[in-house]
Each structure stands twice: as structure tokens, then as C-alpha cells.
């Protein structure tokens, strides 16, 4: 049955939300332009429209989630992103997996933010909400799914599968409902995908607030006053966006297999750039509050942040990045609409700014080198240069598209080594940034002259030089750029630490800036060590040249491990123990040899008792439930020469219906470094095994024989009455041998079957991958009470892995948390300030 009601309701609510937000924008605009008598009614009208809009958006969200949660695969969205077995928390991830759902998430945050703005700031309500609602209307139009004059507006998440595609089955049976969906991309089946997107989109959504305040200020001629209410929001936006970006980085580190947390992928760059500009905007806004100089810069940067967020949206969702990015969305045919969205607000804001430029107050006073404005301006400019350096190469595909639009041919490709290309610029700019953030703070609190500056900088400089000197020697830092970055980073930590220390005694509430800067400086140091000194320890320079064409200096970065064979790698000896599965209700991993599949993808049967740390969890013959049939784990044991051992479980995921195979790393974390291991490849499970010649062996029950150098024992023979996929008649006989092979760590059970069916002999051999063998039950000798088995062997199972050490990565994560703390302190301070001024009635 096709459940059309919920989809129709959802679509109706999308349209209602779109229309009501347009009405709201128009009414707010009218309210701003009308006199005191008619203003209240317009305002009232606008508010009601906005709340109707909000309720509709909530309804749309609920409808879409209901469709996913009820597994209504007649809907294209549920069918292409979800599956029947998906647990609820991944259904949430499914919700924003598609483009429509992520637009919806963004619009959802806008509704909440809009409601907060309406209720906290009456003076600014009309002008800011007019702009806000207009932006929201554009956003909603992306999921409208309406065709007007043959032009499609937006892509609705509520279209049915039969509307979305023209499959022949729908001609036969229009009411056909697929039994299952395609499932969620294995890479996204991760708890970070439940919390990273909402955080990132909250960051995206909040960039609108400084923008609308700035636009409203320009519009109503309050050129200075917009800064105070906008500032706490700009801080909130920067910290949320920052957390969102770092969550993404952490997800990539834990889940993807490129070996790090940041890859300078266009999608990463597209979001890093607005963050930098937003941080620059915050700095100029703070400076402005004490002097007029930074006002124009604050306006330009607040507008630029929002426009860059729209540009990022365009880059990632229009399909223009195409081959150059691994994780952008595919094109939904919205590129034109996205471009209109971007250009509308870019043109509108530039026009408004240009129109009022001459009226914006400035000060002609020359900036002194010893003023805080000077230093902060330098910092903001450095941030903007960093942003510019990233956005230019990221826009290469746009450049190609523009050239081709005018009939030209452009074959420019992004830099071949992205990481090296971006790093070589960003590292020097980061050095400048760290130096400025250390020094600038001293100008923050009072006017300083040359003499005073020297006095306050003396000790921080000496301490940081000493500290960095020690670290450089101990950690053997030799690269000049790294030495400088380390010294600058430590200097920033020490200098800000000194300020923090003196502030804690007098006014700890004001310490947000110092704390945030310490956090950033720690992040820089953490990145320097974990990326700059990331070391591949699976490096293989045995120099075995198998192809004469190979250049001689080529070393391989990976290590081949055959199962149960110990290989030395640096300080460790490694042993690949086999493939493992995760079982529901079991604390460890279970060997694939200990379980047997029987047709149901989630359920398996235990072939022997399954224990963990001496406690028995399952008995032989129990039915077990797999946590996720798509996941397998490679058990890799690391032992050190001093006898210390640990085990890592890098993961392999396969999604049959999407044809995706994905490897994820496992990380051994210690305080000072991470050992990151990921499997590059292993024998294709779909490829056919090449067996060696069969060896025959005749044994009695209880006797032992060798299988591929392992000791095997015939434990027993039994007659069986059921064989999967074989129907046994009354005359037929089937017997099964139970053979136990003693491995190094565990026993493997093999049960080949000897079958007489319709007077014909059938042999059902069984494979044991863990000992690379296959055993066939060849014959029964009743006269001697013995049995003949055939043993074939093959190449042992293997994995190729890469192991990387990332030193001091915890400094990066700790720095992140400290930065967040600093931002939070600053938000609190600025918000309290705004509330005080507002309640005094001065905020006009």
C-alpha cells in the first residue's frame, strides 16, 4: 500500500512554510517603513506569519522523519537513504544524509534562531527579520518541489519513488513498494554523523545573524549600533562552526582512511574560509567598540562571512566540484537556483554597502603602532589572507566553468599535492597569527608605550624562547618553518597565559579572549606535531625491485601480513589473527570461524561455545545476532619486545546494494601519541580461491592428522537429517564429520558432509579460511571403522596495512576544548553587556 497522506501533508507544509515566510518578510518590511500607528499591526502580522512558518517547518521535519522511521520505501528519500534494519540513531543521520534533508535541518535552525531574535530584541526586530525571512524564503525554495512554467523550483523530499524514476515495474504495478531501501552509506554509520551535521548547520545558520544586523544597520542608518547585538551572536556562530568543523575532522580521522584529520579537500576548505573571515569580523567588531576605525571593516567582513557561506553551499551542492572532491553532494538540478540565491544576497549587500559607504562614520586619526587597533587589524588582515589563499585554488573548478561558459577551454586542475600546497602558505601565516595573538593582547587592556611594552614582553619572550629551545632539542625539530611555528605558538601560550593570570585576580569574566587564544595556539602546536611529524612506521625499504622500470628510490609505505605470521615493524611485531565480527550482547569480537551464516543476513549460529575473559556468553548451536552484518574487523596484535601487547581492530564495511567497500582505521591512543592503523586491502571475498592439489588421509575417530601444518582431530561422525538447500528423501543418507583444528589461539571447527542422495554420492566440503584449507569427506570404510578426508590448501589469508604514528595529537584536541571554553566565556560577557544596555533602554 502506498501511504500518500504523509507525503502530501509534508509537501503542503513546505508550500505553507514558503508562503508564510514570504508574507512575514513583506510584513516586516512594511512594518519598518510605516509610521508608528500602523507599525504594530504590521509587526503583529509578520510575527504570526513567522510562527505559522515555524510550525510548518516543524511539521515538514516531523513528516519526513515519520516516513524514514516507518520505512515507507515508496518514498524516494527513504528508499535511497535508509533501510529497514537501520537503528533509530542512524535514521536520524539518514534524515540529513540527502541534500533536501540537510536544507531542512538548516531551515529548522533558522526557525529557532528567528524566534529567539523576535523575543530578545524588539528594537531591531522589524529590519533584521525582514532580511532574515527573505533569506529563509530562498532556503525553503530549495525543497519546494514545484513546477511553474516548466521550470522546476526546488527538490522535494516527499516525492514518491514512482515519480522519481521511470522503472518498468511501475508500469506493471504502480503500487509497487520495494521491500527495502538502499541503506545508509557505511561511512556515515557513525555516531559523529548524528551530531556533526546539526552542529555544523547551526554554525552555518547563525552566520546570518551578524549579516542581518549589519544589513539592518545600513538600511535604517544605525551604522554603529548594530555591532553590540551582533557581537555575541558572531562569537556563538564562530564557536559553533569551529566545533562543527573539528567534529568533522575528528570523524574523518576515526572513520576515513586518508590517514589524518584534514585533507584540504574543497568541501573542507569551503567551510574553513568563512570561519576565518568570521573570526576576523569578530576582532574588528571588538576593536570598533572602543574606536571608530574598524567599523567599515566589520561591515565588510560580516557580509563576507555570510556570502562565503552561501558560496560554500553553492560549491558543495551544485555538483561543480565534481571530480575534485570526495564528499560533495551530487547535483540535484538546483545549481541555477543556488546561484540565484548567492548572487541575490551578494548583489543586494554590496549595493546597500556602496550606497551608504560615504555616510558611515570613520576616523581620520592615524593609527599608532602602539594601539590595539593596529595589532588587531594586522591579525584580521592575516586571517583574511589565509582565507584568500584557500578560496582561490578551491575555486579552480568555478574558474574552468566560467571559461567554458564563454566558449573557452580551460584544463586547470587543482594542485596535485593539496596538503603540501596549502600547508606551505598557511604555516607562515599561522606563525604571524600566533605572534600577533600573543603581542596584541598586551595592548588590549591599557595604552602602552614602547617602554612599557618592552617590560611586559620581556619575560614571556624569554620564557617561550627557553621552552621552545628545550622542545626543539628534545623533539628534534629541525625544519625552519616548524621551529618558527613552535616558538610562535609557545610564545602565544605564554603571553596569553600571563594575561590570563593577571586577569584571574582582577576580573576573571573578561578572560575569554586570553583563554581562546591559548586554545588556538595549542591547536597550532598540536597540528604541527601530529601532521608535521606524522610518521609512517609500516615503511618498507627492503628495496625489493620487482619491476626494472621502478625508480630505485621507491619505498613502499605498506606492510603485507599473512595470517598467523609474525612480522617486525619498528618496535612492534605484528600478527594478523583473522577476520572478526561484532555480536549483539557480546563485549568482544567473535572470530568468523566460530560462527556460521544460514541465510538471514543478521543472524548466525555459534559453531562452538563462545567465551570472553573466562565467562561463557553463548553455547554451541545458539543463534546470535550480528551488530551490523556490513562490518568486519581485522584483528591485528601488536607486541613489543618487553612483552607488552595490544590489539587493534581496523574495520572493513561493505554495502552490497550500493556496491561500496570502505576501510576504517583503528587507533591506539596514548597520552603522547596515537598509533593509527588502517588496512589498505585484503583478498577480495568475491574472488575465486585457487586450491592446491588434494591430499588424502584416512583416519579413525579420535585420531589426529595435519591440515596445513596445524593439528586436526576427528572428534566424531554423526548422521544428520537436514542440510541447508538440500532435500533429503527417505532412502538418502547424510553423515557429517566434526573435525577440530587446533590453532595458535583458538580451535577451528570443520564439518564436511558425505551424502548419498538418489543412490549418488555427494560431497559437501568445508573451507576454513583461518587455516587456508578445505576439507572434503571422501569416503567411509565400515570394515575398518575409518574415514578418508581430502585436504586442499591455498594461500594464507592476508592483509596489507599502513601504520602511522601521530605524536602529540592530544595537544590539538585539548586546545580545541580550551578554545571552546574561551569562546563561551566571551559570549557570556558580551551577551550580559548587550542585555544590560538593552534594559537601560540605550540599545537603539
Amino acid at each position: 500500500m502506498i501511504h500518500t497522506f504523509v507525503g502530501n501533508l509534508g509537501h503542503f507544509l513546505v508550500i505553507t512554510a514558503f508562503v508564510s515566510v514570504l508574507i512575514s518578510a513583506f510584513s516586516y518590511w512594511k512594518a519598518q517603513r510605516s509610521d508608528e500607528i500602523s507599525k504594530p499591526s504590521w509587526l503583529n502580522y509578520a510575527r504570526i506569519a513567522f510562527y505559522i512558518h515555524g510550525a510548518s517547518v516543524f511539521g515538514v521535519v516531523a513528516s519526513l522523519f515519520y516516513i524514514i522511521n516507518s520505512h515507507y520505501f515508496e518514498y524516494h528519500y527513504a528508499w535511497s537513504h535508509s533501510s529497514a534494519e537501520l537503528p533509530v540513531y542512524y535514521q536520524i543521520a539518514t534524515f540529513w544524509n540527502g541534500q533536501e534533508g540537510s536544507f531542512l535541518l538548516w531551515a529548522f535552525w533558522h526557525v529557532i534562531l528567528g524566534a529567539i531574535l523576535i523575543n530578545t530584541n524588539k528594537f531591531w526586530e522589524a529590519p533584521i527579520m525582514a532580511v532574515f525571512a527573505a533569506v529563509q524564503a530562498f532556503l525553503l525554495s530549495m525543497i519546494l518541489g514545484v513546477v511553474i512554467f516548466n521550470v522546476k523550483f526546488g527538490s522535494s523530499p516527499f516525492i514518491l519513488l514512482r515519480e522519481a524514476m521511470n522503472a518498468p515495474i511501475f508500469q506493471l504495478n504502480p503500487d509497487f513498494v520495494p521491500k527495502d531501501g538502499s541503506g545508509l552509506n557505511p561511512l556515515l554509520q557513525n555516531y559523529w554523523m548524528v551530531i556533526h551535521p546539526p552542529t555544523l548547520f547551526l554554525g552555518f545558520a547563525t552566520t546570518i545573524i551578524p549579516f542581518v544586523y549589519c544589513m539592518a544597520g545600513l538600511w535604517i542608518g544605525k551604522y554603529k549600533e548594530w555591532v553590540r547585538p551582533a557581537l555575541p551572536w558572531a562569537l556563538f556562530s564562530a564557536v559553533t562552526l569551529g566545533i562543527g568543523i573539528l567534529m568533522g575532522a575528528y570523524w574523518a580521522y576515526e572513520t576515513l582512511n586518508f590517514g589524518g584529520y584534514w585533507n584540504w579537500d574543497p568541501v573542507e576548505n569551503a567551510i574553513y574560509v568563512p570561519w576565518l573571515v568570521l573570526v576576523a569580523a569578530i576582532h574588528t567588531m571588538i576593536t570598533f567598540k572602543k574606536s571608530n576605525n574598524a567599523l567599515k571593516a566589520s561591515m565588510v567582513l560580516s557580509i563576507a562571512t555570510f556570502i562565503l557561506v552561501l558560496y560554500a553551499t553553492f560549491l558543495t551542492r551544485s555538483g561543480i566540484l565534481g571530480d575534485s572532491s570526495v564528499h560533495s553532494f551530487t547535483d540535484l538540478g538546483l545549481s541555477g537556483q543556488l546561484l540565484v540565491y548567492l548572487l541575490t544576497f551578494a548583489v543586494l549587500s554590496v549595493w546597500l554597502l556602496a550606497k551608504t559607504w560615504s555616510k558611515i562614520p570613520t576616523s581620520d586619526e592615524e593609527v599608532s603602532t602602539y594601539s590595539r587597533e593596529f595589532w588587531i587589524f594586522m591579525g584580521a588582515a592575516t586571517l583574511c589572507v589565509m582565507a584568500f589563499q584557500v578560496i582561490i585554488p578551491t575555486s579552480i573548478p568555478v574558474w574552468n566553468a566560467i571559461v567554458e561558459l564563454f566558449g573557452g577551454i580551460s584544463n586547470v586542475a587543482p594542485p596535485a599535492d593539496q596538503v603540501a600546497f596549502y600547508s606551505k602558505w598557511q604555516i607562515w601565516l599561522a606563525v604571524i597569527l600566533a605572534l600577533l595573538s600573543g603581542t596584541g593582547q598586551f595592548f588590549w587592556w591599557k595604552k602602552v608605550d614602547k617602554q612599557k611594552l618592552k617590560e611586559s614582553l620581556f619575560y614571556p619572550a624569554v620564557i617561550s624562547l627557553l621552552a621552545s629551545g628545550i622542545i626543539i632539542v628534545v623533539a628534534k625539530v629541525t625544519e625552519p618553518a616548524y621551529i618558527l611555528l613552535l616558538t610562535a605558538g609557545i610564545y602565544s601560550i605564554v603571553a596569553n597565559g600571563k594575561i590570563l593570570f593577571s586577569l584571574l585576580k582582577t576580573s576573571p569574566k573578561l578572560a575569554g579572549g586570553a583563554v581562546a587564544h591559548i586554545g588556538i595556539a595549542m591547536m597550532l602546536v598540536g597540528v604541527l606535531f601530529s601532521s608535521g611529524y606524522s610518521r609512517i612506521i609500516s615503511l618498507n625499504n627492503t628495496g625489493m625491485i620487482w619491476n626494472k622500470d621502478f625508480p630505485e628510490e621507491m619505498n613502499t609505505k605498506n606492510l603485507l601480513l599473512f595470517q598467523h605470521e609474525t612480522v617486525q615493524m619498528g618496535d612492534y611485531s605484528l600478527n594478523y589473527k583473522g577476520l572478526r565480527k561484532e555480536i549483539d550482547g557480546f563485549p568482544g569480537y567473535v572470530s568468523t570461524s566460530a560462527i556460521e551464516a544460514f541465510g538471514d543476513s543478521y543472524k548466525v549460529v555459534a559453531r562452538k561455545d563462545i567465551e570472553w575473559k573466562g565467562k561463557k556468553y553463548f553455547s554451541e548451536g545458539d543463534t546470535l545476532v550480528l551488530d551490523n552484518p556490513e562490518n568486519s574487523f581485522f584483528e591485528i596484535e601488536y607486541s613489543k619486545s618487553d612483552g607488552k601487547k595490544f590489539t587493534l581492530y581496523p574495520r572493513f564495511q561493505i554495502n552490497e546494494s550500493m556496491g561500496m567497500q570502505v576501510y576504517s582505521p583503528d587507533i591506539k591512543r596514548t597520552l603522547t601519541s596515537d598509533l593509527y592503523t588502517h588496512v589498505r586491502t585484503f583478498p577480495d571475498p568475491e574472488s575465486e580461491t585457487e586450491w592446491g592439489e588434494m591430499e588424502e588421509v584416512t583416519v579413525k575417530v579420535g585420531e589426529t592428522f595435519f591440515v596445513n601444518d596445524f593439528v586436526a582431530r576427528v572428534q566424531g561422525i554423526e548422521r544428520i537429517t537436514e542440510i541447508p538447500q538440500v532435500t533429503l528423501g527417505l532412502e538418502d543418507v547424510a553423515i557429517k564429520a566434526r573435525i577440530v583444528i587446533s590453532g595458535a589461539d583458538e580451535d577451528y571447527i570443520v564439518e564436511p558432509i558425505y551424502l548419498i542422495k538418489d543412490r549418488m554420492i555427494g560431497l559437501i566440503p568445508e573451507e576454513v579460511k583461518d587455516v587456508a584449507s578445505k576439507i572434503t569427506f571422501l569416503n567411509v570404510h565400515p570394515e575398518s571403522n575409518s574415514f578418508t578426508f581430502g585436504v586442499n590448501t591455498t594461500q594464507k589469508e592476508w592483509v596489507i596495512l599502513e601504520a602511522v604514528v601521530k605524536p602529540y595529537i592530544n595537544v590539538l584536541w585539548t586546545g580545541t576544548l580550551i578554545m571552546v571554553l574561551g569562546f563561551t566565556m566571551a559570549i557570556r560577557r558580551r551577551y550580559v553587556e548587550f542585555i544590560k544596555m538593552r534594559d537601560k533602554g540605550q540599545e537603539e
Binding site: S80, L161, M165, N166, A167, I169, N173, D175, F176, V177, P178, K179, D180, S182, D323, E366, V367, F374, F377, M378, A381, C384, V385, F388, Q389, I392, P393, I396, N411, V412, A413, P414, P415, A416, D417, W425, N540, M544, W546, N547, D549, F550, P551, M554, N555, T556, K557, N558, L560, E656, S657, M658, G659, Q661, R680, T681, F682, D684, W798, I800
Partner: protein, 138 residues
């Protein structure tokens, strides 16, 4: 001259340097023929080449050699001008490499051999948008 002017000039200068550096370090999409010409002229920059694996009449890839330790391999790639070239890659063969229908190699010629630094693949998805698995109707 005011400080802000000097400051402005410095910023513009850095911006110009950024653009020049981008133009200098940007790679290009070329064919093997053009890549060889570039290499002969002494240009060792890494380039992108788009092409596919060489396949026989049955559609099976040919000319693939894997090192005995399986840690590196070489293959024959046909670019968009139908020029064949052996490509050497110092990484284990990705599992779905043989199934790929389009390959982009990023690398350069060294002593007349094309050494790939990075391989991007486009695989035919088993999951096709227009195909619905027809199971039982619920």
C-alpha cells in the same frame, strides 16, 4: 604616506603572490602525449591524466603486474586520445580497481615511465538509480 596605505600595499602584494603561486602550482588535465612533451621540456610538475584500463575483447583488463609482495603494481592505461601508457603505482592495488570504468592518475614522467602519485577511480555502481530490486511486495 600613511601607515594604512603601506598596510594596504602589503596586503595587495601578498594577494598577488597568492594568485601567482596558485597559478604556478595548479596542475592541469592533459593527455599522455602532452605529458611526455612537458617532461621532455624538463617540466617535472605533476599532472592529471584521465583514461581507462586497457581491456581485451572480453572486457578483461590486460597488462596488470603486481609485485610479489603485493605492495605495488603497474597497469596499462589508455588515455582519451587512445594512447597507451604503462603506469606504475607504489601502493597496493585497491580492491575494486579492476572493476573501474574511469581512472584519473595524478603523477609525472620519470625516465620515460609514468609514476602515479595518486589514483582516483570511478567504479560502475552496482547500485543503479534506475534499477529497483523487485522483491516480494509487502
Amino acid at each position: 604616506m600613511k601607515k594604512s596605505h603601506i598596510f594596504g600595499i602589503i596586503i595587495i602584494a601578498v594577494a598577488v603572490m597568492v594568485i601567482v603561486s596558485t597559478a604556478g602550482d595548479a596542475s592541469t588535465y592533459v593527455s599522455f602525449g602532452e605529458a611526455q612533451e612537458l617532461a621532455e621540456k624538463g617540466n617535472a610538475n605533476m599532472i592529471h591524466v584521465v583514461g581507462a584500463l586497457k581491456k581485451d575483447e572480453q572486457g578483461q583488463p590486460v597488462g596488470i603486474q603486481t609485485s610479489p609482495d603485493m605492495l605495488s603494481f603497474s597497469f596499462i592505461m589508455v588515455d582519451q586520445n587512445n594512447l597507451e601508457q604503462e603506469v606504475i603505482y607504489n601502493q597496493p592495488m585497491p580492491m575494486d580497481f579492476l572493476r573501474s570504468e574511469q581512472v584519473v592518475v595524478v603523477g609525472s614522467y620519470k625516465k620515460n615511465k609514468f609514476i602515479a602519485d595518486k589514483i582516483l577511480m570511478k567504479c560502475p555502481s552496482k547500485y543503479q538509480e534506475n534499477e529497483i530490486k523487485v522483491g516480494e511486495v509487502r
